[in-house]
């Protein structure tokens, strides 16, 4: 066993010498190559005399140097002449901007990105409004092996009946296990931007004319302390630079810090420093369906894991307060099990899901139960206010055996009452409270001629 100080003293100079020798060898080879070119050039015909235009350019060329910084006067011009922001998909993917999606593990961020990539590539209506035209998308998953990426896209293609023709040559997928997407690295005391990697990504996006780059997950694109704001800012800056220089939208998928599992995830819950959120023009958050939401939306509690919603956690360019979009995992079997009895890998594919409306919930109540509710309400004075002791909802609860001590269940009853009122099965009437002698609203059964 040897002391590390001794090892460093012995090995470091040796390594330095080896690398320097290699470099010197390369330099000698480069000098030799230049000499060969010079000899070949000497044998070539003499150059043409410069024309007047060339002479002018020459004069200009000799002044090339560092560009001085200038303050540019602002000119107010017709707004119609200003280029419109180029929203590529929804209000989240914007050309020349970096966006991010935050979510807890298992929340479906990656699977969601896969379906979004297919929606953008095919131009089909898979999740929300399709893009104006099919886009060229590069999905770079820095963690999963290539075959896992292939499984996910294949499963989504099966579910949505997407053919190779629909994809064309517009989809690109890569795994970080085969090529590194690390753009910033920390090496002891230095934070190094891996310029060759960044330049290479930009060059590839330009060469392939890619519109959208999805990088999943952000944490795999750097090797710096993720809690250090200035370092994470440098990482985020590289992706902003990619979006800007390559003229594409960059989407970063990011994990959130560990939560207790009960709280709502917000854009402030991203793992590590907050600089990523601050650099992104749009941040979405992915939240799983809570027990309360499952109950009020009529989803069995044991199925709640299959549902999640995507909402804007920070949107510099989209209207605030937008409604969340619900998504649902649909299991898809790839059929790669090699036999009739083995369906092969099961993959969760993200689909759009619309929560049942109050009318949908009301339609699930049997006609005889509704008749019983109406008969009971017609026979008494039942208030519309859910806080009232004689709330009409208690009648509904009794007939349908619903426990009103649970808040989600009370919400469900409120939605049922609203649906029946909207459908004309019940009505609201303002009249004098027989006890307190003040105006109150009551739920009543309307008097139709046929009743």
């Amino acid at each position: 066993m040897e002391n590390l100080a001794d090892i460093v003293r012995r090995e470091q100079p040796l390594a330095e010498k080896l690398v320097a020798a290699t470099r010197a060898h390369e330099q000698r080879a480069a000098v030799r190559a230049r000499e060969v070119i010079a000899l070949a050039t000497a044998a070539s015909p003499s150059p043409r005399k410069p024309t007047a235009a060339l002479a002018a350019r020459r004069a200009q060329a000799t002044t090339i140097g560092p560009k001085p910084i200038r303050a540019t006067p602002f000119i107010l011009r017709d707004p119609k002449l200003i280029p419109q922001r180029e929203f590529l998909f929804g209000r989240h993917y914007v050309r020349r901007y970096m966006s991010a999606t935050f979510g807890a593990g298992g929340g479906g961020k990656s699977a969601h990105a896969v379906t979004e990539a297919l929606a953008m590539t095919t131009g089909r209506y898979l999740l929300g409004e399709p893009p104006k035209q099919p886009l060229r998308v590069w999905y770079a998953n820095a963690e999963d092996p290539m075959e896992e990426i292939e499984r996910r896209f294949a499963a989504a293609a099966i579910h949505y009946n997407i053919t190779a023709d629909q994809l064309g040559d517009r989809l690109f997928t890569d795994s970080g296990r085969e090529q590194s997407f690390v753009v910033v690295r920390e090496d002891r005391r230095e934070t190094r931007i891996l310029e060759p990697v960044v330049d290479s990504i930009i060059a590839e996006i330009k060469a392939r004319e890619i519109d959208v780059l999805i990088v999943d997950p952000f944490v795999s694109t750097h090797e710096v302390d993720e809690n250090d704001n200035s370092r994470i800012q440098r990482v985020a800056e590289q992706w902003v630079r990619v979006a800007q220089e390559a003229n594409c939208a960059v989407e970063l998928i990011h994990h959130v810090r560990k939560t207790t599992g009960t709280g709502e995830i917000t854009a402030d819950d991203g793992r590590g420093a907050g600089a990523l959120k601050d650099k992104a023009r749009s941040v979405r958050v992915v939240n799983g369906m809570s027990k309360d939401e499952a109950a009020s939306l009529g989803v069995p509690e044991h199925d709640a894991d299959l549902y999640f919603r995507v909402s804007f956690g920070k949107a510099n360019m989209a209207r605030r307060g937008g409604r969340a979009s619900w998504r649902k995992f649909m299991p898809v079997w790839l059929g790669n099990g090699g036999g009739n009895l083995n369906a092969g890998d099961e993959i969760g594919v993200v689909t759009e899901w619309h929560p049942p409306t109050a009318g949908d919930l009301a339609n699930e109540v049997p006609a005889d139960a509704l008749a019983a509710i109406k008969a009971r309400i017609a026979g008494g004075d039942y208030r519309e206010n859910a806080q009232a002791r004689d709330w009409a909802g208690h009648v509904v609860a009794e007939v349908l055996s619903i426990d009103t001590s649970e808040k989600p269940e009370r919400k469900r009853i409120e939605r049922l009452l609203r649906a029946w009122i909207a459908a004309g099965e019940l009505a609201v009437e303002t009249r004098i409270d027989p006890v307190r002698r003040v105006n109150k609203t009551f739920v009543v059964v309307p008097h139709h001629p046929e009743n």
Binding site: M1, L4, V19, T41, S44, P50, G105, R188
Partner: protein, 251 residues
């Protein structure tokens, strides 16, 4: 977590652990699984003496797991390696054993028997053998199987995505390690790369690995220096007296 008697043996700690006190039924599954010695058999196959392991952790069991990445759940991927081990009725087997810290049963470590990937069940700790970090001399193991092989002595860092915990080495006077890369990471993260702290580290890695490590480091430094030099190089004025062919060659 209901046990906090440091003097208890691992088996006693395990026997008295009440899984009901922790809101996760996977621990109960581990405790109630009848392993019939398969975990011990795995250790023997790997050339690991089971006796000191059992004394240190109380039990080693072989369980079926599911490490499907179909619905990959990063919150369960405590190691950050992209592999999640969950108990399941079918799937690749993994050995599981309790992680005990300060006389308490804090988590389970699972090691896949097919690829030796590992992860904690609950993400409650980043270490195997964390108690050893209070010693003057500590051996740092690269992989949990190395830690088991050493009779559960020394420490093993089991959360590769995070290195902040390396700061816990600051109180250790002598750090022994058989992996030069890991040792240098500890130097960087625990001691801010301070060369004066090199003397704390004692390495018994293969000479070839050590040489390769330093060579790669130097190559990386040289590459960064070359790129930075190119980026900061001022534009040279174009010499228009040269022929077009020369200009093309020059670029």
């Amino acid at each position: 977590m209901n046990i906090s008697e440091k003097s208890s043996t691992a088996a006693e700690i395990l026997a008295r652990f009440d899984p009901e006190s922790y809101d996760d039924d996977r621990l109960e599954r581990f405790l109630t699984t009848d392993d019939a010695g398969a975990g011990i058999e795995f250790l023997r196959d790997e050339g690991i003496d089971p006796a000191p392991v059992l004394a240190a952790v109380g039990a080693v069991k072989l369980l079926n797991t599911s490490n499907s990445t179909a619905l990959y759940r990063p919150e369960l991927d405590h190691s950050g390696t992209g592999v999640v081990h969950e108990f399941a009725n079918n799937g690749p087997p993994a050995i599981a054993f309790p992680i005990i810290e300060d006389g308490r049963f804090v988590d389970l470590l699972l090691i896949g028997t097919n690829d030796f990937s590992f992860d904690t069940l609950l993400g409650e700790t980043c270490w195997l053998g964390r108690d050893a970090l209070t010693s003057a001399t500590v051996r740092l193991h690269k992989h949990p199987l190395d830690w088991l092989d050493a009779g559960c002595t020394g420490v093993c860092h089991i959360a590769p995505f995070s290195r902040a915990e390396f700061a816990e080495f600051r109180g250790v006077e002598r750090i022994e390690c058989s992996d030069i890369h890991l040792a240098m990471e500890v130097l960087g993260w625990a001691f801010d790369g301070d060369e004066d702290e090199l003397k704390r580290f004692f390495i018994d890695d293969e000479p070839q690995n050590i040489r390769e490590f330093f060579l790669q480091e130097e190559q990386f430094k040289a590459e960064v220096a070359r790129i930075n030099a190119e980026r900061t190089k001022p534009h040279e004025p174009v010499d228009w007296t040269r022929s077009i062919e020369e200009l093309v060659r020059g670029y």
